[in-house]
Amino acid sequence: MSLIAALARLEAVRSGRAQPAATVRHRHLSERPLVFVPLTTAGEAGAPLGALVGTERDAPRLLVVPQPRDRDLRFAFLADLADIVLPHIDAYACSVETAERAETDPETGKRVKVEVDLCADAPQLIVPSRAGIDLVRLLGRSMRFRRTAEQDPEAPHPAPPHVPLLGRWLTHFGERARVPGSSLLLALTEVLTRHWASGQSSLEDQHLAALLAWIDPPAGASGADAAVRAELARDEDGQLLCPPAGPATDPAFDNKLLAPAIERYDRARTRLAAAEDGVEADDRFGDLTAAEQEIRALVASRTRPTWDAVWHGLDLLRALPEGDHVADRWTRDRWSFTGHRDRVAAGEPPQPRRDDAVTAANKLATREREQARLEAQEALDDPLVMAGRRLAGEAFAGEVLDVVMTYSEGKRPSPRPLVTVRTGDRPHLGERTKVYRSLDGKPQAAEFVGDEGSDGDGAGDFLVVLRIVDKMGRGKEPAPGSVPEKGDRVCFTLFEHEQRGGAKLPDPEETPWTHGGPPGEADAVPRPDPMTEEDVL
């Protein structure tokens, strides 16, 4: 935890309210996010119990699996989910604009600009917590390799149409969510903790209701008390007043309410199957429907508070103005969405179970670059984030005391002005350390020449001498406005503002011997376990 984050948490404890950790919103929020509040069944990995899903805060769709161990019912749930999610995705996939992209010309090998479609906007999926993202990934993995009856008439348990496609999309959302700064799939607790520091541990922050209690406590109550209540308070039947945001449910709910209801449902089903004539069947069908309604009501009662909390959290976030670089990062999400849309349209197979060596390395490189980009952009967009970097010695702000023009040596002397900055910060500057400031949105570099110690006024300020080295135009005299002037307030960072692309890795079929050779070869990738009866849903 950074020093400023620790301070904010201490202040939150003292004041009983979460403290702002950002002054602008650092994540894109869609006008019409698709909110997904899933619940799973205890004891069976990834078996959905139900979900609230939709784009209208007042009209969520409730999907329920009354007997989560029944694979047909599970498929019906997934098919219903696909009928909600896929049209939402399609709506975005259709609307495109033209954009330019650099591609390698296969004939000349040169980088050329080509015009391609870019989706004008992308769908956004919001889940309450990080565990929700894991479930999205798990659902994606469990669905994308299924075969529908149309794809494979011989398949023993064909999946309903669209289910494999939903699996591919959920996999894409889940994978994209691993890219720092991306907003295609967001966990609300993570976005909220980026913008507010509560007075509880980061583990406790994963409880959405408790986190919201810190950020926006009920009138007259302290956030700390409200959070404890959200976490622990139970009614006279021993049920939590604020059900956990899931996907896991509270064991007291499972044991006392859910298990008996499912048992009643099972009994009603057995009795219906044993019915001997139409009248009896009608009668018993009524019982079954009643039992199912009971489970639906239970699931609704446990998801609706979370659903409302998600929208409450979105309201809080929407109140913050969007950071300057957020749109830039959302454009990357749009490229990612468009890319997957094109892969699906081109009939490519689903994402493989495991990445090959080259894909894994490329993904890691991209994510590291995006992480560095995100950290730099957040600091540039937000003075509070920059304050944290300044406190950590990674940036400094101050007033320009003096500018002395000097020139580089060589045939064509270029301007190399020496700028003296008085700062109260304590940057970790070494000899010739590169520093950067933002000049009209572009980074201007300078190098650290030396410090002249404190200026003797006793305020703990000290004087930093920098030599500006670029972005001053081609002339002998620097372009107007490109050199700070005496009295200017400036802020330099020790980190770079833009990230260079890494080296290109070999193609997967060129994977070298050190990494097992091309993935197609015999022992290159450990084979997945052979398919067994249990693998087929």
């Binding site: 890691l364 290109k504 050190t514």
Partner: protein
């Protein structure tokens, strides 16, 4: 533990370190020059002559008429290798491939007539040896692969970095220290944990996972670590691949012209001069990372080391050599701690002492090191602070003595925080873990403890 160290006096009797090291080197060169395998892996403990081996292997390959590429991890390592090669064989044509940044290489290379420098691999074609960083090599495309490569610091190289350059060579010698800090990624890579080619793992891990038949050698003698340090570092960090010091107990001595003033720093200096290790223990307390008392204590120890006119006697010189600021280093876990120590040293009027983090001290050597224990004053023991490599780097930079400054209570802290990292399927569990290694080091340091209340 204690018994092991006490027995050390007898360990080296029948052992000729020079001969053992020479035998190991011969075997490595034989496999490299004449072996049937595409790769050879050499594990080298701290100060075991890794760079000497790399230089010698490069010279022998070049002499055998086999041009080679050398891959190092940092520009400083590359420049250092170029200088060493030129020192050994000034006539050898060497290419230094470098980036197009300003000041991409050490200016000292400009004085070497047979070293050609370029940003393009094409300009360096045909030279006997071409050296660059892994990052720069990754940009080299469309060249005829080299028949041989040497990968230096291969344990600090990430698997994805090797992936980017492995197409450039047919066979390679991989040299590195398995006990130092593992490479790291700034984002989570759990997704690939357990895959043989996990891009965040070390290059050697991936290489051996795919090529388990490759010959593995190790260098058996540390020439840097004194007889007082090699057994501890070997037992704590290399329990299954032990090594010894190249010098005996009497070969190195540290003396001071000015007598002790009886203060904690002076007493710990005397203890370390005598025993090779010293622990300056401050009262137990939870502190911020830049614990002002501990930082001042570190600075104070350094100041007294210089004030007391130290002289180091070693096998390197006939006469005692003065212990000057450039022979002392301070090691910390975090950059802000290093910055705090630097500023405390400046307040005491001590310039020119190297102060850096474990990451940046890797591969460097000093006469005396003063380290701020990574767990000092902490309320918890995280994976970062427990990492074996971090403590190993800090505890193995010295030729004479190592002084550890630490708050009391770390043993208790370790017991309160056993390792809880999730076990990933398919990942080889690393032994010893940081918990074990920290306990081993603390148990030994406890015998050289100087409690002090500043």
């Amino acid at each position: 533990m204690t018994a092991l160290f006490a027995a050390d006096g007898n360990r080296g009797r029948a052992f000729d370190p020079g001969a053992a090291a020479a035998r190991a080197t011969e075997a490595i060169l034989r496999d490299t020059l004449h072996g049937a395998h595409r790769g050879v892996v050499v594990d080298s403990p701290p100060g075991a002559g890794k760079s000497t081996l790399v230089v010698r292997a490069a010279l022998e390959l070049a002499a055998a008429g086999r041009p080679l590429m050398v891959i190092a991890q940092t520009n400083a390592q590359v420049d250092d290798l170029v200088l060493r090669l030129a020192e050994k064989d000034p006539g050898l044509p060497v290419g230094r491939l470098h980036s197009s940044d300003p000041d991409p290489y050490d200016k000292a290379l400009d004085d070497l007539p047979n070293v050609r420098k370029s940003t393009k691999a094409g300009d360096l074609a045909g030279l006997d040896v071409v050296i660059s960083t892994a990052a720069k090599w990754a940009h080299v495309k469309d060249v005829e692969p080299w028949r041989h490569a040497i990968v230096d610091e291969a344990y600090q190289m990430r698997s994805d970095a090797l992936l980017a350059v492995a197409g450039l060579f047919e066979r390679a010698l991989f040299v590195g220290d398995p006990g130092q800090l593992d490479p790291f990624a700034i984002v989570g890579a759990e997704q690939w944990a357990g895959l043989s080619y996990d891009p965040s793992a070390s290059a050697v891990t991936t290489l051996l996972a795919h090529n388990p038949e490759l010959p593995q050698h190790r260098l058996p003698v540390s020439w840097r670590l004194p007889a007082s340090a090699a057994p501890l570092v070997s037992d704590a960090f290399y329990p299954y691949t032990p090594f010894r010091s190249g010098t005996g107990h009497g070969d190195r001595r540290l003396t001071f012209g000015v007598a002790s003033d009886g203060s904690g720093p002076d007493r710990v200096i005397d203890e370390a001069a005598q025993a090779g290790w010293g622990l300056l223990e401050l009262p137990a307390r939870h502190t911020p990372r830049t614990d002002p008392e501990a930082v001042r204590a570190v600075a104070r120890v350094v100041r007294r080391l210089l004030d007391r006119g130290g002289a180091a006697v070693s096998e390197r010189a006939e006469e005692p050599v003065a212990l000057t600021a450039d022979r002392i280093a301070v090691g910390t876990a975090h950059r802000d701690q290093a910055a705090a120590v630097r500023s405390a040293l400046a307040d005491l009027g001590v310039p020119d002492v190297t102060v850096d983090t474990a990451n940046r001290l890797q591969g460097r050597e000093f006469d005396v090191t003063v380290i701020l224990h990574p767990l000092s004053g902490r309320p918890d023991a995280t994976a970062f602070h427990l990492e074996t490599g971090r403590l190993c780097v800090l505890a193995s930079r010295h030729r004479h003595a190592c002084i550890v400054v630490c708050r009391a209570g770390v043993t208790q802290l370790l017991d309160d925080h056993p390792s809880t990292e999730p076990v990933q399927l398919g990942v080889t569990v690393k032994f010893p873990d940081g918990w074990e290694a920290n306990h081993a080091v603390l148990a030994h340091l406890a015998e050289h403890r100087v409690p002090w209340r500043p």
